[in-house]
């Protein structure tokens, strides 16, 4: 019997101000796209949320033309004026934070606690951060007068729809580029609402264009000759396709792709905090996180103790209605993703790993997967090698720091890694040897606009965030004056 039963505490869905119909945003105007009109659904209930008129290839053409025309005047504005627009967008996002959070949770299935406390504030922080750079680009280390690249085509994933839009748009605008952005097919609503905010902030028409749509729209953006740079966040397979498409086209590319991060726990780790870090590493956003700590590498001597502590902790996770403020684990974003998670989890069982989940009732409708632990996993198992992109943790063991490094690096990916130890010198020793773009020490999945993020190997290239994030949108310019 539960002694302390938390009463439902749902955020009202009215706050999302859901409209019956959404379209595209091109050249400062909202209109229906000429592509297919699709129904978007709430992954927690499978009920239709609203209708979106998607973009067509012609719409891509119009958007690129608008962005081209807007480019030179936008780039010619003093940095301080571009900063003013970005600050304005950041403040407007804060003002509409609740609306954006509820909308994100409805469309994506993530818990309101995450969209409210992480996605929306971090997205606004990104605009604030890059607004600050806009008038200081000459001091950023790219020469005295670095120039923007031109029109950026940006394609973003469904796991952090608004946050990824912010990661893409803010640095591009700060550096004087214009953008054509395609949100993911299953989660277009917050990006379109961000377009509304941008329109309300009086940005010159064409500087930002938002084109909801599927893979065909993405391909049309990638292939469009009027685009100078492609920025993509998504799967490694699509990333490879993009690279093939733009080969020899002269387009610049930055890719932020998949991951299979090792979260490495030594026997001298702060154990309770490590448990939190492991939970946050893999169950944050249902594991729909490219940098998720999906491989737990635990020193063999503390394996049983740590697994016991994880069982204890996982039993307290609350799975259910994403809009309930006490929900820890929300819905899987789509039927397709749920099928992929199930397939990989089944392969784990078939390959001999031991599967465990806490007792937790899954709702009857919608897409759900319980938090799942696999122990007895070996490096050769698919669940240790392939990105699952779901709430599934594979536990492996190691004996020495060198073995931990070797196993952590033994993956085609290299986006992130975590180290848990109270020994500072070991953190530095490990961090120098891990081939991952982000290494967290005694924490995991912490994001800050000032910190560069990006991958090694098949996790992609280019960095987003921080001063480094400017490089993806600038031509370095050096000259010698006599």
């Amino acid at each position: 019997m539960t002694v302390f039963e938390y009463a439902p505490a749902p955020e009202s869905r009215e706050i999302a101000r859901l409209k019956p119909h959404y379209g595209i945003f091109v050249d400062g105007r909202f209109s229906d796209g000429r592509g297919e009109a699709i129904k978007t659904i709430n992954p927690a209930t499978e009920e239709p949320l609203t209708e979106v008129a998607e973009a067509s290839a012609d719409d891509v053409d119009d958007a690129v033309t608008a962005a081209r025309q807007a480019f030179e005047p936008w780039a010619a504005l003093p940095g301080s004026v571009r900063a003013k627009y970005l600050f304005r967008i950041a403040r407007a996002m804060q003002e509409r934070a609740r609306e954006l959070a509820v909308l994100e949770s409805l469309d994506n299935g993530k818990p309101i606690r995450e969209s409210r406390d992480v996605d929306v504030p971090t997205a606004a922080a990104h605009f604030f951060y890059y607004a600050g750079w806009a008038d200081k680009l000459g001091y950023a280390g790219f020469g005295p007068q670095p120039r923007p690249i031109g029109v950026a085509g940006q394609v973003i994933p469904w796991n952090f729809p608004l946050l990824m839009a912010a990661w893409k748009i803010a640095p591009a605008l700060a550096t004087g580029n214009t953008v054509v952005l395609k949100p993911a097919e299953t989660t277009p609503l917050t990006a379109i609402t961000l377009a509304e905010i941008i329109a309300e902030c009086d940005l010159p028409p064409g500087v930002v264009n938002v084109l909801p749509g599927g893979p065909a729209v993405g391909q049309a953006i990638v292939d469009h000759p009027g685009i100078d740079k492609i920025a993509f966040t998504g799967s490694t397979s699509v990333g490879k396709m993009i690279q093939r498409s733009v080969a020899a086209s002269g387009k610049r590319v930055s890719l932020e792709l998949g991951g299979k991060a090792a979260n490495i726990v030594f026997d001298d780790a702060p154990l309770d905090q490590a448990v939190e870090g492991i939970v946050n590493g893999i169950f944050f956003n249902q594991g729909h996180v490219c940098c998720a700590g999906s491989r737990l590498l635990v020193q063999e001597s503390i394996h049983d103790e740590l697994i016991g502590a994880l069982h204890h902790r996982l039993r307290t996770l609350r799975l259910g209605d994403p809009l309930d403020k006490n929900t820890d684990i929300g819905a899987i974003n789509s039927a397709a993703q749920l099928a992929r998670i199930r397939e990989l989890a089944d392969s784990g069982v078939a390959e001999g790993a031991e599967r465990w989940s806490p007792d937790c009732a899954l709702p009857d409708r919608g897409f759900w997967f319980p938090p799942t632990l696999f122990t007895g996993v070996s490096q050769a198992n698919r669940i240790a090698r392939e990105e699952i992109f779901g709430p599934v943790l594979s536990v492996l063991t190691f004996r020495t720091p060198a073995e931990a490094v070797e196993k952590a690096n033994n993956t085609p990916y290299g986006l992130s890694a975590g180290i848990w130890t109270e020994k500072g010198s070991r953190i530095l020793w490990m961090a120098n040897r891990l081939r991952a773009g982000v290494v967290w020490a005694n924490t995991f999945n912490r994001f800050d606009p000032s910190s560069p993020f990006g991958g090694y190997k098949e996790s992609g290239f280019g960095r987003e965030g921080g001063r480094h994030g400017l490089a993806a949108y600038l031509e370095s310019e050096n000259y010698l004056a006599r």
Partner: protein
């Protein structure tokens, strides 16, 4: 040494200073940033309607209603006891608090005033709040409180000895006080505001549990900071881990600085999710407080009627 633990590896630890040190320093460290983050996350739980009503009544039943002032008088203590038995004169449905907590010389007054009720009498002892006295003096302090009828003793540890690394001395004092308590329950005040680091809080918690404390308690209320969410988190983890290893359920008391019902409800969430629901009862969890009770009563009334009433609708004692 008087180890109250059942014979076994844990009881062996108290053999000498160095084996205690090895054990306490071998406990997993506490990462301050992570502990603060976890406490902050738990504070975002939204406790409404029926859950809030349950939590407020549970919290009232866990209060050690406290007065520890130089100016305490028998009259003041009697008035507090009346409030403890029936916190809201207008509503008999409000549960009584867990205990009244006073200085040793006022125990007798409290025992008489509370006769026939289930409210316990707790007494601070051992040269409270500083603990700076000879062990013999501390034991006399305890013995007198127990003789006067206290069923719970709130002792302070020797923070100086703890910080100097004389763990054996701290252990022995707690064990001696436990013996002097007889059947009275012993709460061991760590004074976490003077221990400062969370590593120290964890070590002191284990030291007090190993030495036989029935409860570990944050603070005297005379030092700031007193109870804080990260400190409560670490102490709740300690009793949870202790129960996992020994099967013995020991309690936690948070004291000092908890004034609002909102904070109390947040702490109950923490108890629930960190230690577990076995701790959600007055035998295993307490709030040491004076003004908290009135805020709990006001919130209870607000929940029942939908309107706040002013401070004059709860009693001032």
């Amino acid at each position: 040494m008087t180890a109250t633990l059942r014979p076994g590896p844990l009881a062996e630890l108290a053999r000498d200073d160095s084996s205690l040190r090895r054990f306490l320093h071998g406990l997993s460290g506490v990462d301050q940033v992570g502990a603060e983050g976890r406490a902050a996350m738990l504070a975002t739980r939204s406790i409404k309607t029926t859950a809030k009503a349950w939590a407020i009544d549970a919290a009232i039943g866990m209060v050690d209603l406290t007065t520890l002032e130089g100016s305490d008088t028998p009259g003041k203590v009697r008035s507090l006891c009346a409030k403890a038995m029936r916190p809201d004169p207008s509503d008999a449905g409000v549960p009584a608090v867990a205990a009244v907590c006073v200085y040793p010389d006022l125990v007798e007054t409290a025992v008489r005033a509370l006769a026939g009720s289930r409210v316990q009498v707790a007494s601070v002892a051992t040269a409270f709040p500083s603990g700076r006295a000879a062990l013999a003096t501390k034991l006399v302090d305890v013995a007198e409180a127990v003789a006067a009828g206290a069923s719970e003793i709130d002792m302070v540890i020797d923070r100086g000895a703890f910080l100097a690394g004389r763990y054996g001395q701290v252990f022995d004092e707690i064990a001696a006080v436990k013996q002097a308590c007889g059947s009275a329950h012993l709460k061991v005040i760590l004074e976490t505001g003077e221990l400062v680091t969370l590593d120290n809080v964890r070590r002191a918690s284990w030291l007090a549990l190993l030495a036989g404390g029935d409860f570990i308690k944050t603070s005297t209320g005379k030092v700031s900071p007193a109870a804080t969410p990260p400190v409560a988190l670490v102490m709740l983890q300690a009793v949870r881990d202790f129960a996992d290893r020994t099967g013995e359920l020991r309690g936690v008391k948070l004291a000092g600085g908890i004034r609002s019902a909102k904070e109390a409800v947040r702490y109950l969430v923490m108890v629930n999710e960190v230690a577990g629901q076995a701790w959600l009862r007055p035998e295993a969890f307490r709030f040491g407080a004076s003004s908290l009770l009135n805020d709990l009563l006001q919130q209870r009334h607000k929940l029942a009627t939908g309107a706040y009433d002013g401070p004059d609708y709860v009693t001032v004692d």
